[in-house]
């Protein structure tokens, strides 16, 4: 029943770099994932500024140019599409739309789902049930089809796309938050606070919400990958972003017709999607092992055996 809390704090004191960061870089896959994601984020933030013009500039000498040759310059190392536009440039710039839409959708669904989950979990009356039934309806239907129907009814535009992606993800946050609130609500320190005289607002925001936040954020990180995939599928099917805006998904759709002649047009964007979601999944897997006290020793042990 006594907890040896001193051992981990001792480690933290010996090095200025925080422990999680040190452990991440011990694992080659997790480290690669971090590096890749940072690179992609940099592309999304700074890409359009740096090589924006190359995106639209047609270059007829480079039409359907194959990759891996530096003939036309470094920008064309991944090849070019039918209009001669640099694929590398389009990839870098496309990161902004792809990641931006996903981030917006995740943020929206996190906030709405989290709030609804707090209410549904805390209230003991009809309201909670009502919210859950609403979530059931959304969840009982394949999200892609729901998105397609909604987008077709409301018209495909970026705000609508974000909206529909957010709506289909809300039930996930809702359910998880609610389940956790239900559990935290019964914990002793909540009873203790009630016995002190705390009211509902205080209990919800001072005690329950801070405990539930980390779980929501963890799901958000994992969900980001799913949303990127969902947006790509929608854009691929033609109901996502419309030209001239583009994401990696719509790039794949554009390249589909040229498979036999210019396979690289469809290949690189899809690969970019794969690597991004893979990195996100690798990292969230790593995070799950790290935050589970029963499993963390596996990470720490790997470090130790390397140090020997």
């Amino acid at each position: 029943m006594e907890t040896p809390g001193e051992t981990s704090s001792a480690a933290a004191r010996t090095s200025p770099i925080p422990l999680p960061l040190r452990l991440v870089f011990r694992d080659p896959m997790a480290a690669a994932a971090v590096v890749f994601l940072v690179a992609i984020a940099a592309c999304a933030l700074f890409g359009p500024m740096l090589i924006g013009e190359l995106v639209e500039k047609p270059n007829f000498r480079a039409r359907n140019m194959a990759p891996f040759s530096l003939e036309q310059g470094f920008a064309y190392v991944l090849g070019a599409d039918t209009l001669g536009r640099s694929l590398l440039a389009r990839l870098v710039v496309g990161a902004r739309n792809t990641l931006g839409i996903a981030a917006a959708a995740v943020l929206a669904s996190l906030l709405v789902g989290g709030a609804l989950g707090l209410i549904a979990g805390y209230s003991r009356g009809v309201l909670g049930n009502l919210i859950m039934r609403g979530a059931d309806i959304v969840m009982s239907f394949p999200s892609l089809l729901l998105a397609l129907i909604v987008l077709f009814s409301l018209g495909p535009s970026i705000p609508n796309l974000v909206l529909v992606l957010a709506i289909t993800r809300v039930p996930i946050y809702l359910r998880t938050t609610r389940a956790e609130v239900l559990e935290v609500r019964e914990r002793m320190f909540v009873s203790a606070a009630t016995a002190l005289g705390a009211g509902h607002m205080r209990l919800l925001f001072r005690h329950i919400a801070p405990i539930v936040m980390p779980t929501i954020l963890t799901i958000g990180a994992l969900d980001f990958a799913t949303v990127v995939l969902a947006e790509s599928s929608l854009s691929f099917l033609g109901l996502g972003v419309q030209a001239p805006a583009f994401t990696w998904g719509s790039m794949v759709a554009n390249g589909r017709g040229y498979l036999a002649s210019a396979w690289w047009v469809a290949f690189w964007p899809g690969l970019a999607i794969l690597l991004t979601t893979l990195s996100l999944n690798v990292l969230s897997n790593w995070w799950r092992t790290y935050s589970d006290p029963h499993q963390r020793w596996r990470l720490e042990l790997a470090k130790r055996s390397k140090a020997k």
Partner: protein, 307 residues
């Protein structure tokens, strides 16, 4: 136990009902169907006549009332784009998707159980790291891209497999392989995580103290307990499988319900949209009941739950 299944089914039924109402309103929200079905050079009068004839000009609540009445009489309307009863078209396409999905799901589950259990048996070992990488990659891959790359390699370059359609067993290989990739990846992760957790639980310690063999501990003692979250996730995944089916069927030209639904949406065929939604929702509903029963069969604590 039956109380448990009953309650869950009732909840799902409400969801199905809500969904049908939602679809009705969404599919009539924007646009004029006449523009789509009649040729571009048709006159305004012709379009008005078309809408009048098919009841698209009536106020919302009248259309809704008609919709409910039709549903109650099991009249699902005519698929405008094909000029056949909507339900007939739907029920033709549904078994095609069912075949694809059930084979893919079975393979995914079986594979995940074996690979995940073996990975959890020796955590951080070579097999574990390898299988984790493969399953993570599978779970992260955009299915449309994998399909395209597969076609590129196996059809265009190597000429081994056909690009689309049904017919020979060869036609089945790529669609099933691509469809099962994501569920397999996700389920392997879940199985491994669940098994790791169960393998550290106290009753496994008891089994070791009793002198039970390692293989029996993994596959008899641990696996059945680890199955419970797997069943839940597998159930959720089945809805996702329909998502995947839409894309796969579109790319490979498979005449299933996913492709049908996309066509119906693009052609504004209301009756067909409603029909496909209904059939899909009912299928998922029935599947959820099966999952709940499976859950109760696996865990005796749920069977004996006081209502």
């Amino acid at each position: 136990m039956f109380g448990y299944v009953f309650r869950r089914s009732a909840q799902s039924l409400i969801a199905v009902a809500g969904l049908l109402v939602l679809v009705f309103f969404l599919s009539r929200l924007t646009g004029d169907p006449a523009y789509l079905y009649l040729p571009l050079d048709s006159t305004e009068a012709q379009r008005q006549a078309f809408n009048e004839l098919n009841g698209f000009n009536d106020p919302f609540y009248v259309q809704f009332g008609r919709y409910l009445a039709d549903l109650a009489q099991l009249d699902f309307g005519t698929a405008m784009s094909r000029n056949r009863p909507a339900m007939e078209v739907t029920l033709e396409a549904f078994p095609e998707t069912l075949k694809l999905a059930s084979i893919a799901m079975t393979l995914a589950i079986a594979g995940a159980l074996v690979v995940g259990s073996l990975a959890a048996a020796k955590p951080n070992g070579f097999f574990d790291r390898l299988s984790m990488t493969v399953s993570l990659a599978g779970a992260s891959a955009p299915d449309f891209w994998i399909a395209i790359v597969a076609i590129l390699i196996f059809s265009v370059s190597l000429g081994l497999l056909p690009t689309s359609g049904t017919g020979t067993p060869l036609h089945w290989i790529m669609p099933i392989a691509v469809l099962m990739l994501r569920p397999f990846g996700l389920l392997t992760q879940v199985v491994r995580g669940s098994m790791l957790g169960v393998l550290t639980s106290p009753f496994v310690k008891t089994a070791r103290a009793k002198g039970v063999s390692r293989r029996k501990i993994i596959f008899v003692h641990a696996l059945r307990n680890a199955m419970l979250p797997v069943v839940t996730v597998a159930g959720d995944l089945t809805a996702t499988l329909v998502n995947g089916a839409v894309v796969i069927e579109t790319i490979f030209g498979w005449p299933g319900i996913g492709k049908l639904m996309i066509d119906a949406i693009l052609r504004r065929d209301f009756a067909l949209i409603q029909c496909t939604v209904l059939v899909t929702a009912v299928a998922i509903f029935l599947l959820n009941i099966v999952i709940d029963l499976l859950y109760a069969a696996l865990d005796p604590r749920i069977r004996h739950q006081a209502a």
